[in-house]
Amino acid sequence: MHLCIVGGGSAGWMTAAALAKKFSRQKLQITLVESEEIGTVGVGEATLPHIRFFNQTLGIDERDFMRKTKATFKLGIEFVDWGTKGQSYIHPFGDFGEKINSVDFYQYWLLAQKNNDMGKLEDYAFGIAAAKSNKFTIPELGAPDLKNSFGYAYQFDSSLYAKYLREFSCKLGVNTIEGKVVNTSLNETNGNISALTLENGQRISADLFVDCSGFRGLLIEQSLQSGYQDWSNWLPCDRAIAVPCERTQQLTPFTRSTAKEAGWLWRIPLQHRTGNGHVYCSQFISDDAAQNTLLEQLDGKVLAEPRKLRFKTGRRNHFWKKNVIAIGLSAGFLEPLESTSIHLIQEGITKLIELFPAFDDQQTTSNTLTIDELDITEYNAQMGLEYERIRDFLLLHYVANDRSDSPMWAYFKNMTLPDSLQEKLDSWMHRAYIQRYEIGAFLPPSWVAVLLGQNLIPHNVDPRVQAFGTNDIRSKANAMREDIKLGLHQAEGHQAFLNRYLS
């Protein structure tokens, strides 16, 4: 079987690496077409903990990967000015405290807040405590204590990650072709794409195509007209400017997102520089003003020309259509407020591997490859749910706050929310209840982190918390805090840890 990937960015090379590794013993010939002229967007320098499992599956050595991608550790995201101006919180990878009598710890904490009894909620999450102290340690696998109950991810240079995986993939036999796709040929019988033609006239036939061509969706949209679900009424930010700067401050083990009048700024500390960007809504701010806002906030000297991006939040109607699977920005776009860009690439790849068409040498010529509609339907259903649930979680950040100080925040204030999100907010405010789901990137602890971080204090708590005596709760809470303090004491400074770990 011949598979062709179009696009040499993070999505393209992550796909190539994973497929080449996973199907290394099978007759899968992979070609990746990339174009220096087009370049890559370089999405998402910050990631979610899931990326570790992706790398582990490929057999990638963490140290080697971190050295080569200039990666740092990430314990969560600091959200500044989101709930209200002048305030910040960290959304960690992990839960707050431990359940007591089957009831989530935050419920007890909320009740105790009345008497200011149990300190801050963040005192019960090791990830936050370590992030605030600029410390890091690797959690002990399987250890039940709180100081080991956290996850971590990476902040890395995504262009270096793509380069790293390029080398990795080529070693596994992935064929690379430099060139710009100028035409696609369709099989008239089944509507599949049969071949691509490059600017130099080279024709590339394949059985299956993975479209990693970015926003334009060269194959999935321009050739197969998948159609696009526009979600910009809910998430109206439509532009971004990205610029790296010198790193001048301590190496923080967290990404920072600062809410602004017409969008938000990201700050991602890497080993060699700091990545910065401004995601904004062009309806409420000019490009020049947006760039100024970004440049004013930089830690250090600008290292490159600011790059401008335009996008429309939403997703393709079909992530997989005919013999084309769209992965990455060609599949859809959700602003990287919660570092989901690379995660969505990873999800797309994982599901593609799960649903990969059969290797049948008798059938797999470019004209006869039959892709089962069941695989396509399932892939589209699973990816659709993934995108939709992340969309609601991102929107939560914009509506769960007390800001109305600019036209953009006023827009969110007056927005009619998707029913799915409105119900979640209602049940939270009424009794601190999280309407949970099992399948999706952001589980209840993440919702709690944002809701409480952005000052949405519910009117009531779960009445079961009253069944436990105050002294007992206090004593358990103290034990949790002590455990975290001990862990913090044992942890190293982030920079020191990196120096030692990567030496």
Binding site: S24, L355, F356, L374, P463, R464
Partner: protein
Amino acid sequence: MNKNEVHEANSVNSPNSKKLDIVIYGHSIAAFISALTIHNALADHVTLSLILPADQAHSDILYGGTSPPDAYNLHLAMDISEPELFQETNSSFSFGTHYQNWNGEKFDWVQAFSLPFTSQYGMDFHQVLLKHKQNLQAYLVGAQSALHDKFAHPPQNQPASPLSRAEYGYNFDYQNYALFLLSKIKQRKIRLIQSDLLEAKVVDEHITSLRLNDGSCIEADLFIDCSGTDARLMSTLGVKKRVHSKINLSLLTNENDTQMKPCNIVSGHVNAWQSTLYLQNSSQVLKAASFVDSAENSAKETSAENKNSANTIASISADIGAQEQAWVGNCVAISLSAAVLEPFSNAPFRLLKLDIERLLELIPISNNMRIEQKEYNRRYRLDVQHARLFNLALTDTRHFLQHEHSTKNQFLASDVDSDTQALLDRKLAQYLHRGLMVSYDYEPFNTEDWIILHFGMRRFPRRLDSLCDNIDNSDVKQHLLHTKNAIAAMVPKMPPCSLYTQKFLNYLKRQS
């Protein structure tokens, strides 16, 4: 609530000083478990009364006398320990359900409880087994133990022991178990009102009071209907119940049967089946016959025959189906008052536990229960639907029949709504296509349950995960052989279930 209102609160309200008045109505396993769990979890928030009619609801036989491993935690939530359960009831251990001659296609397997399967090959364990044409049953220590009538507690902290992957639930006698639970209620500060319902007074879909046959009138903030399939309170609120089929059930006892098997045995097919379960010193047989209205007489005759038998404990007719809403106004229907699934699986007990958990998580804070009601009903509908998928999959033999048209007709005879059908079809189609396990949020039956079910029902995918061709098969063969042999070597060394149970009881006796 408008999102603009959300910032009005700066801190959580003080707990309501007025306790929530809860009245449970029913003489049933659900009533007792509801009372005990609510009492344990919310004693300071509620005042709890239990209206106890004289006789236990016979619909309790619809649990089929089987509970899944989760029953252990449910008991802990009532402060009931396993030793108490075994000393004070005739309950027994169960590694699962043995389906024998099931469904007219002579399916035979043990639907064993199991911890998640582990795989070291970068793909799901069941795919590896399918690739190597292995019988899953040989890799389930619970199944092998059940087939050989052996039992021992799965060891903790011994991951190398094959038995550590097994899980167990309980078989129970519905009357004995209910009596035991009632005795626990009498030890708690729960107000018991021994009387029966004459009338429920309803205003605007809210029950304002219950008039009892002792002349008293009971008011409450929240009423919990645990009257079983009669749904005495819910029926006054005009809730629609969707009925899928009708069933006659008789429960017969075989006293002094001491051949303890650590499972129950289910045989037959969707329209007529029986379940035999083995308790301490006796066994019971639950016979079920489904009927459509035209066949009612014949089914009733069968039922009548059983009724006249000297060893018949109970006989009932029941509608299999579910109320469209389980929470209406200030009344919540728990378990069989809300939804009834056929007990050829342990779905009814799983739903009971889910009902209790859902209720505890959403116990009202005030008399305005709108949000709790909405969320409870949302989850209830999903739980019932997802549990029903499992039961439907246990009776769906389309994969065995050549002509899709005829199968479809046969299958749809059990009145499956299009939404549920679509969810089931997606699960089955994906599995049959390539062994893919499709899951929905928080299903009552986990992936392992489904895999065991598919193997048992001889559903074999047309193709496998593409990764299957990417593994070193000689290594896999070696490992599979080792795993299978370890189980095969261990099971004969385990004690017979009856002996183990007796020794366990003797040990408990000595301890006390």
